[in-house]
Structure formats: C-alpha cells, structure tokens
C-alpha cells in the first residue's frame, strides 16, 4: 500500500508541483480515455466507494462497443447491488429474478439468435439461488455469455456469506470466519462449469488492479467472440471488491481481494474453444 495515503499530511507547503485536474490541457494532446464507459447514459451511480462492480461494468460495455455489438446486445440482470447500474446502461435489458437470469437469457436467445446475450449476476444470485440454472444453461451449451461478479458476499444485504465465500472470511453470518465444519466449503463455479461439455469458454478475472482490469477485458472480449462464433456457453467470472461487505477500508479492498478470494478462486482462463486449459 502507498505511503501517500495520509491525505491530511499533504497540501500547501509540498515541494512537488500539483498539476490542475479540473479541465483538459490547453496544449496539443490526444484524449485517451473518457470519464464514463461506452454505452452509458450517465456517469453517476449509488454504489459504495471502492466497489469493484462498476469496474467490471466498464469493461463489459466497452467490450460490447468495441466488438460492434452495441445495437445487438441484450443484457439480463439479476438481483444485487449491480442491479442499480441498469439505469445507466444504454443497452437493452431484461430485469430477471434472483438467480434466474441464465434461463431468461436462454429464452431470449432462442427467439433472437442474432443478438449478443449476456447475463450480469452476483455470486449470491448465480452460485446460491441460481446454481442449477447456470449449470443447466451451460450444460445445454446455450450460446449466451454469463458474467459473474464475485465478491464472496451478499453485498446488498450488508455482507452475508454466499456459496463463494472463502474459508476464514468474516461475514455477518460467519462472524468468526467461514468454517468448513459449520458452513461448508466454497463452490468454485468457474471450475465446475469448465468441466461441462456444453461450455466453450470459461475464464476467471479480477479487478483488483489495472492489469487485472485489462485482463478482465481480454477475457470478456474472448467470451463474447466465442458467442458470436456460435461456440456455445461462455462464462467470465470477475472477482470484485466489496469493502463495505468485507468491513475493511476501501483502500484495502484490492489487496484483500487478491490475497483472500484470489487465492482460492484463481485467476486465469479455464477453457478455450471448448478445450480445458492445461487439461
């Protein structure tokens, strides 16, 4: 962690020169990246400081735009904090029930095979209440892309244990840390899905740092491309920070994510073109 975090310690008498950031530079320059992602209607949202979900959203929308699918995409959104992001997403959406998005996406894809179908689900949504739906959708080889935002907690209820909560992780209903004897083991959903014959592409990414975000984007591009090629079910799991649900300072979110969740839910591609990676 950076030593610059003591914000009150810096300011006027600092010898380093502070560059103004309230307006674009007046000299010759090239804009490299804009505030809000592609395909958004507004930049503001009500998710907590330090949340990893908007980072994932940015990559999803940018990927759709970059692949030329902006006018062919349909998103099916589950129930979680990320549901609030639907008001800023400028793609067609269907709001599904908790856990049911893969089924809803299935029906939509069957009637609109020309569309790029993706789901946006949290770990409580997909791996708890909707586990059978995502597994069956994958096993059928439905040509849709399911996207899991995995932070290991029910963020919206205030930090409760989900099926992906790692052993030792403190949640409001595993206050001494998740104990396998009391609470069972976490489900590694990506690994489970990769083993199914119907899946074409399975990858797990993490947005705990810039390189991780860039990798997330690559995996999303590959998943969507797999769908566009008609290869079957594609899946991208994205580990995201939830400092509020983890009861830690926002700045510690990326480190906690990488160290705790990332150690169990290992980042990387698990299946490409229907073939297990390293298998």
């Amino acid at each position: 962690m950076s030593g610059d975090r003591d914000a009150e310690g810096v300011g006027a008498g600092d010898p380093l020169r502070v560059v103004p950031t309230d307006a674009p530079p007046s000299g010759a320059c090239r804009r490299k990246g804009s505030f809000t992602p592609s395909l958004t209607l507004m930049g503001e949202h009500d998710l907590c400081p330090g949340c990893g979900e908007p980072l994932a959203l940015r990559q999803i929308l940018d990927s759709i735009e970059a692949l030329g699918q902006a006018q062919r995409a349909i998103g099916v959104v589950g129930i979680g904090c990320y549901t609030a992001l639907t008001s800023l997403m400028d793609v067609d959406l269907i709001q599904a029930l908790h856990g049911r998005a893969p089924s809803v996406a299935t029906g939509a894809k069957r009637m609109r095979p020309e569309c790029l179908l993706f789901t946006l689900q949290g770990d409580g949504d997909m791996v708890n209440e909707g586990l059978q739906e995502v597994i069956h959708t994958a096993a059928r080889g439905e040509n849709v892309t399911c996207i899991l935002l995995n932070n290991g907690v029910f963020g919206e209820t205030g930090g409760h244990m989900t099926a992906t909560t790692v052993l030792g992780q403190r949640t409001k209903n595993s206050i001494e840390g998740r104990d396998a004897r009391l609470h069972g083991h976490p489900i590694l959903i990506g690994d489970l899905l990769a083993r199914l014959d119907g899946t074409a592409y399975v990858a797990r990414a993490s947005v705990h740092d810039a390189a991780g975000v860039a990798r997330t984007r690559r995996f999303l591009d590959r998943a969507f491309t797999s769908q566009l090629k008609g290869q079957g079910f594609s899946f991208v799991e994205i580990l995201t920070m939830c400092p509020t649900g983890w009861f830690i300072p926002t700045a510690e979110g990326p480190g906690y994510l990488d160290r705790e969740l990332g150690a169990v839910h290992e980042v990387g591609e698990l299946k490409k073109d229907g073939v297990l990676v390293g298998g």
Binding site: M1, S2, D4, R5, D6, A7, E8, V10, G11, L16, R17, V18, V19, P20, T21, D22, A23, P24, P25, S26, G27, A28, C29, R30, R31, K32, G33, S34, F35, T36, P37, T40, G43, E44, H45, L47, C48, P49, G50, C51, G52, E53, P54, L55, R58, V207, D209, A210, V213, A214, M241, P243, T250, A251, G253, P254
Partner: protein, 85 residues
C-alpha cells in the same frame, strides 16, 4: 523524490469522486495522492503531481468513472498549462 516530466495528464470529475483511494496505488508512476480537499459530498479528493504518463490505469480502477486521460503531444506540456495549483 525526483519526477519525470509529464507525458500525459488527467481530468478528475471531483463531484463524482467518493474518495475510495483505489487510484492512488494503481498509478504506476505514483503521481496520484490524496489531498486535503473535499468535494461537496465531503469525500477527500485525489490530486495529480507532475510525471503522469497518461497510461490510464487510474481510469481502469476508478469505480466512479472520475478520470479522463490525455496523452500530451509535447512532453511536459502540462506544466505550461496549469502551473502550480
């Protein structure tokens, strides 16, 4: 601590910032730091020092879409545009 001249710069939408500090460690040249300034919501804001490379890492890790990133055609152009805040 010596800084390289700026090859890029950022605009920060201070009104949107929630002071989460994720941008601070994400910045490869370490030219972002938290300031003592607060926005209307009371969140402490980051500030930019000389030496930005315009790499866009801050943009990638900002949950509140606060960053706009520019690559400068002439290195150090930032200095001439703003001077000392």
């Amino acid at each position: 601590m010596s800084r390289a001249p700026s090859r890029g710069t950022v605009v920060i939408d201070a009104a949107r910032c929630k002071g989460c500090e994720l941008c601070i460690p994400a910045c490869p040249p370490r030219v972002l730091r938290m300031s003592a300034r607060r926005n209307a919501s009371g969140y402490l804001l980051p500030e930019l020092l000389e030496g930005c490379t315009g790499c866009g890492a801050c943009l990638l890790v900002c949950p509140d879409f606060c960053f706009e990133v520019y690559q400068l055609d002439a290195p150090d152009a930032a200095k001439t545009t703003g001077g000392i805040a």
